[in-house]
Symmetry: C3
Subunit: 348 residues, 3 copies
């Protein structure tokens, strides 16, 4: 649980930058949304369209973009990126809980595991043989770290996370409850009428500053590793199949799925429930809209979409059935064009 | 595990209502489907189209709608809502297991947690500092309740559930295994080329009589709470993002996802794998079909659908490619209309 | 964790079959992909299009199809199904870790549970009353087996798996971390404005040689069992609702969902994120493409698809809006056909 500290506006600007207009001694205990802020709170406007709501907000002060410096007469911090500034101040006021160094009595740590003295191994956690737990790491209650896996300094596993054997998580990573790192990839070979399991002998390699959402799954590689770059942010219930690689600073929203051996570039943004085929390559700086299934490689930066536009059910029913005859409709239009062309040429 | 009790038809009608036609002394041990019922079972017909199956059913007695009171000569209970009646009788015959009061030896309960004497804290469960566990609550094996969270009287957490700190679950709720309540919302702000995490300082507030399916995730709010109303029923593997609110008695089927800050009304029904965009509002009494992605607010009650109609793969391939030229096709039809209009006007 | 053994090519062929061309004394420690293999590795070519990569591979030897026996002069094993052969050799070189017989001190096993002597019950696992754990079974850390459930000989539950009460898992099954077997099906009945829960009194019955992916959920039946056949392979984050049945040797990719009471045949292949409606029947030998929602029963073997073809966002926007007027477009084309027909008949 985060404990909130109070800071004056002056201290905030000294630590986080920006230009302060107003009383530097004003104390701020909390960052709050415009409509729920109280007179002790700092609020923010990240998009110009919310500026009109300032006057109805009870907030004591605001974080504003330089273009909006005069949007209020109340105290304000003016900066280039109010949303990022809000993130920084919120972090200042709500610092992450540090590890309480030590191993809980009910935790089970293999003799050959190496756990940093400053790490916290919570109740009922299990650390396997040969595993290495870095400085300041928190392993939450019920979480399991498999044999020979490594958790880098400053990382946190929330409760009931499972990391299989032979996986590597970098520094300052956050893994939310129920996530599973390193389960076997879905490797099966048909042999006669029966599926044979293919042993998954690769691992998972996760960079630094990665966040992994609740119940997200990242499978181990079949032969080589599944690789997640630095600064990658993964929301909840995402499925990353074996041998996928994801470039640095790519963000993926909840319920997305990436099939085996797909390569996702850097700085990509995949929307919620988007699905990426296996064995394709998505270049850097590509956005995929929510609910879109990408079936082939994308080379050009840009935004890609493929979503059936919803409507009321009756209208959908009336329209959707024609999709199954769209090829026929195109043929009919082509036929009309030919026939009309002939008719037009007729002498009158 | 439920233990079945036996009741006579007379006792059932006395407790659950309805009109009994037939022997009140007949003993019923089980409710069963029409086709698998034995001569000791009570079956039911919830939809008229299943009435013809009565005669082939071995059931001893039936729950029938008033309109179907004469569909059989066997003993029967006649009522207004046979499906709800079935639910009530099934609950009578299979009462939920009550809590076995006490804290298992291997459970870890913080000193400052307050656990009702009648609550059951099962093996390897963890209860954090300041948490409050109400009367008759069952916390399953391996489940974790974070600091200062509250679980209301009569609620049950199945095994390996994680409730983060500062969350509130109402009374008589059921949370299935692997569910994660209160993980951080997906709040990130781009700052230069890097994502900054935005601390998620809100909580999760869940009403009474809510059921939450296995591996479903409900994120904590960024600043304010994520709110789930009373009587809401959530199936498995649903993702509820930060600051979503869901109105009372809304039911959501498996694999659905609701993006951040969406407001879902009361008495809505969201189909399996339906996806709701962030920051939109779905009014009361709206149904969304399975697999439908809703991209904008819906004000009018009704059913909304947006699903690509499947067909055999070759046919799909032939038709789908034209979708990418649909705008061009519309233009061609418009052009044909113009040209044909001119042709029709020509003197012959 | 798997421990690799080394074998000579001669030993491999003696155990696994195939024709060896080259030195039988050559030692192989690892199977590797063409591009990452070293001079100590055996690689394989499962599809002819990868044959040109052989010459650039550093592998010591290859597994090749009979048609490609002369694709290299290096040592090679020639066989009818190189991918299955790879699976068999990989299993030989990376045998599954056997159970370390015994019950961990921190595990909690009910007195009435029957655990085979050769089974391994890992740290913090819980085995409920009346449960039966077969010979050589591994129950991973934090996993929970409910009352009266049975785990067949040779099966393995990875960490933090939950099996509810009264479920049956066959022999040689693998259940990955976070999977939940036997949670209540989503059975609710509207009664007035409120949902009543319908007790789910069926169980889950899983055959032999089944693999279940991480965070996959299989619900218990409402009255009868949910049934998974022999040799079924389920990837991660799949949702199987109550009373579904899945035929032998069907494989389902990640993020798929199968709604209540659907019957899936034998030898089917359901793609990632495919969704199957409730109460329908999919015949044997049917493939459903990734991302496809199947709304009605399928009788004919074949491949079925229904995916909106993605494009760049602007193009999608231009085209997708017309879908809502497709019925109108069809009407306009029909009208053009009628009018043009009349025009063509006019005497000139």
């Amino acid at each position: 649980m985060n404990k909130r500290k109070a800071f004056t506006l002056g201290e905030i600007v000294r630590r986080c930058g920006g230009e302060l207009i107003g009383d530097p001694a004003l104390k701020i205990a909390r960052v709050a949304a415009l409509d729920s802020a109280t007179a002790a709170d700092l609020s923010f406007v990240a998009q110009a369209r919310y500026l009109p709501q300032i006057e109805n907000s009870a907030a004591a002060a605001f974080i504003l973009h330089a273009d909006a410096r005069d949007a209020t007469t109340r105290p304000r911090i003016v900066c280039a990126n109010p949303y990022a500034y809000y993130a920084i101040v919120a972090d200042l006021l709500n610092p992450a809980t540090p590890a309480k160094a030590g191993i809980a009595k009910t935790a089970v740590v293999a003799k050959t595991a190496r756990v940093a003295k400053s790490a916290e191994i919570a109740a009922n956690a299990c650390i396997g043989a040969g595993a290495r737990i870095g400085a300041g790491v928190i392993i939450g209650p019920g979480s399991v770290v498999g044999a020979n896996s490594r958790i880098g300094a400053g990382s946190r596993l929330y409760p009931n996370v499972t990391v299989y054997h032979g996986c590597r998580i970098g520094e300052r990573c956050i893994v939310h409850a129920g996530a599973v790192i390193g389960a076997d990839g879905f490797g099966i070979a048909k042999d006669g009428g029966v599926w044979r399991k293919i042993p998954q002998t690769g691992g998972v390699s996760i960079g630094d500053d990665v966040e992994i959402g609740a119940n997200t799954t990242i499978d181990r590689g079949a032969l080589d590793d599944t690789v997640i770059g630095n600064g990658v942010k993964l929301d909840n219930q995402i499925q990353i199949a074996h041998n996928v690689s994801i470039g640095d600073h790519t963000a993926i929203a909840a319920c997305a799925g990436i099939a085996g051996s797909a390569k996702i570039g850097r700085n990509c943004a995949l929307g919620g429930a988007s699905m990426i085929y296996g064995h394709i390559t998505i270049a850097d700086n590509i956005s995929v809209s929510a609910g879109t299934l990408v079936m082939k490689s994308l080379d050009e930066p840009g935004t890609y979409t493929g979503v059936y536009p919803f409507s009321d059910h009756k209208r959908w029913l009336k329209n959707a059935t024609h999709l199954r005859q769209l090829d026929e409709l195109v043929r009919r239009v082509r036929d009309l064009e030919t026939r009309l062309g002939k008719t037009e040429k007729k002498p009158t």
